[in-house]
């Protein structure tokens, strides 16, 4: 039955929730990538009249309590948030693949030791450890990305290890071993490509999580002070909630759009790669 299974990208983009997710993420990309081109204002410069309501002249989203252009802050904030989300997901997926591969292929005490460490990292409340680490090592973007990546790899490691355990016993891997292929070649050619699907599914779910955590850190005052951030705009916004609600509305919408969008995309990716899995909420 040739052509009975449509190609991956078509399966991916055939469901309304996934299309909605792609549209939401698309909106943010359109803001983020050319942020410096679409707005003449600088996000951190407090040069303009304060508390201008939305649609005041060129200030599309109005201005903040300190006289910053809110549209510029939200657009440049999108850059930071998307970068954090995507880089954290990439790094944590790579760490997870490495740890899961070593544990799954080596087996024995190596596997045991690595899985105990993985369990430890799964149970540790991520947000609270991130608070400690960022406050001790300093709240720079690099530190925030690094700590989120170091706290997000365990789910990927788990699924990769599970794939290795089952793939190791399969005929085509046994066959490769019988013909005398070296271990690295068996891993690189036979096992790893087959374990990538689940790793990417689980890894993609980290994007939304990382964006939310970065915004939460910024909201508590642990964002990178040299960069515009959605979370930190919301801190000041709360003091003028009644008189200037727009300062809270725009960045909050932006965070929600990002998180909903990437969650929908992640779920869609999971269904496209593994059609048996239903939609589910991660915990």
């Amino acid at each position: 039955m040739k052509g009975s299974v449509p190609p991956l990208w078509r399966r991916f983009l055939s469901e309304p929730p996934t299309i909605a997710g792609a549209a939401l993420v698309g909106v943010l990309l359109v803001l983020a990538v050319p942020a410096h081109l679409i707005t003449p204002y600088e996000p951190l410069r407090a040069l303009y009249p304060q508390f201008l309501p939305p649609l005041s002249g060129d200030h599309w989203f109005g201005t903040t309590a300190t006289g910053r252009d809110l549209f510029a802050a939200v657009a440049h904030g999108a850059r930071v948030s998307l970068a954090v989300g995507i880089v954290v997901a990439l790094l944590s997926t790579i760490i997870g693949i490495v740890v899961g591969s070593i544990a799954g292929y080596a087996g024995g005490w190596t596997d045991d030791a690595l899985m105990r460490v993985t369990e430890l990292f799964i149970i540790i409340p991520r947000f609270f450890l991130a608070l400690v680490v960022v406050s001790i090592f300093g709240n720079t973007l690099g530190n925030i990305v690094l700590v989120l990546a170091l706290l997000s790899w365990p789910p990927v490691a788990r699924v990769v290890r599970a794939e290795y355990l089952s793939l190791k016993e399969r005929e085509f891997v046994q066959a490769a071993r019988l013909v005398g292929s070296p271990s690295w070649r068996i891993v690189a050619r036979e096992i790893l490509p087959n374990a990538m699907g689940p790793a990417i599914i689980v890894g993609s779910l980290q994007v939304a999580q990382a964006i939310l955590t970065e915004a939460s850190l910024s909201f508590l005052g642990l964002g990178d002070p040299s960069l515009p951030s959605w979370g930190s705009i919301l801190v000041d916004a709360q003091r003028f909630l009644k008189s200037a609600p727009w300062i809270a509305l725009f960045p909050g919408f932006a965070i929600t759009i990002a998180v909903v969008g990437f969650n929908l995309l992640g779920d869609g990716l999971a269904r496209a790669i593994n059609p048996r899995s239903g939609s589910r909420l991660r915990t």
Partner: protein
């Protein structure tokens, strides 16, 4: 006599399972202490500098602090000293409050616990009801609406939802107070005081609950739909039981277990949500303490909160595992 055997066997298996899980608890906590110790010693510069941050400190205080941490001794002795201190409930001293970190945390924990339990109980009840309603009419308008709410509710940042709730229900409609746990202008006593505090609790509890309503709704809905497709439900229907009886007595009962388990496993995440919610609503719990500790670079307090929260999470996970094994024998037989 024949029937007593499986029961005793079941008990002994449960005991083995409990012991096996119980042994993991101290190991996990030990691992957490190791992570914290390494962090302080990996920090750039001197651990004292890392712990004090930008705080102004007198040379005598720094010397005293150094001795307290045992920094003049070799690393392994420092580690043992640290473990010894933690085991004795000495999580260090907050230099900002000049108070024991553990005392500070225990003082601030009750309001957080109240907020968390109210939110999680409300979320469980609302989530289950929504799930049952949606599962009774799959693919209806109600079902679709509830699903959309679940996707958004799961993704909303809790601190922004808090600000929206303040804007609408406190500042504009004036239904609820804006900040705090009780009215400071009036001095209520007795039932009036309880009512006043409940009035302050409603908004933050619902804001914190939203994410868990979404999770519990999705779990209940999919659990019921799965159970409803199984054979014993067909049997119950074939017996002529009313569909409401089937739904509640058979389907719901089996769908509830994941809700309880996931709530237990989510307690760490719920605590971070509580911290953020408290900051928005001026709720005087661990959230306020965390915010002050960040603002003053009070690292011993942040580390203490982390250790406290992790201990709570490990213990709740342990209890959740046991409840799960007790209700579902398949788990402990593995």
């Amino acid at each position: 006599m024949e029937s007593a055997r499986p029961f005793i066997l079941g008990c002994s298996r449960m005991l083995t399972y409990t012991l096996r899980k119980l042994i993991q608890v101290p190991f996990l906590l030990f691992g957490v202490v190791v992570v914290l110790f390494l962090l302080v010693h990996l920090a750039p510069g001197d651990p004292v500098a890392a712990l004090l941050g930008d705080a102004p400190a007198s040379p005598e205080f720094i010397e005293e602090f150094r001795r307290h941490l045992g920094l003049d001794r070799p690393l392994h002795e420092q580690f043992l000293l640290y473990v010894w201190n933690v085991l004795h409930g000495d999580l260090g001293t907050s230099y900002y409050y000049s108070q024991s970190v553990l005392t500070l945390i225990l003082e601030r924990f009750p309001p957080t616990l109240l907020l968390m339990t109210s939110a999680l109980v409300a979320a469980t009840l609302i989530g289950i009801v929504l799930g049952v309603v949606a599962a009774a009419r799959p693919n209806s308008a109600v079902d679709a609406g509830a699903n959309l709410f679940a996707i958004v509710g799961y993704s909303l940042p809790v601190f922004w939802l808090g600000e929206l709730a303040l804007l609408v229900f406190a500042l504009n409609l004036d239904w609820f107070p804006v900040q705090g746990v009780n009215s400071l202008r009036e001095s209520y006593t007795g039932p009036a005081d309880v009512l006043d505090r409940a009035h302050h609790l409603v908004l933050p509890a619902f804001v914190l609950a939203t994410r868990y309503i979404a999770i519990d709704f999705r779990l209940t809905r999919s659990g019921i739909l799965e159970v409803l497709s199984q054979e014993y439900i067909l049997t119950a229907r074939a017996k002529g039981l009313a569909s409401r009886v089937v739904l509640f007595r058979h389907a719901l009962r089996n769908a509830l277990l994941p809700v309880v388990t996931v709530t237990g496993l989510n307690v760490g995440f719920a605590l971070s949500g509580a911290v953020l919610t408290e900051v928005v609503f001026g709720w005087p719990g661990l959230g306020r303490l965390t915010l002050d500790a960040i603002a003053h670079r009070d690292s011993p307090v942040l580390m203490g909160i982390f250790l406290f929260v992790t201990t709570a999470v490990v213990l709740v996970n342990f209890i959740t595992d046991l409840v799960y094994a007790m209700v579902d024998p398949r788990i402990r037989l593995k």
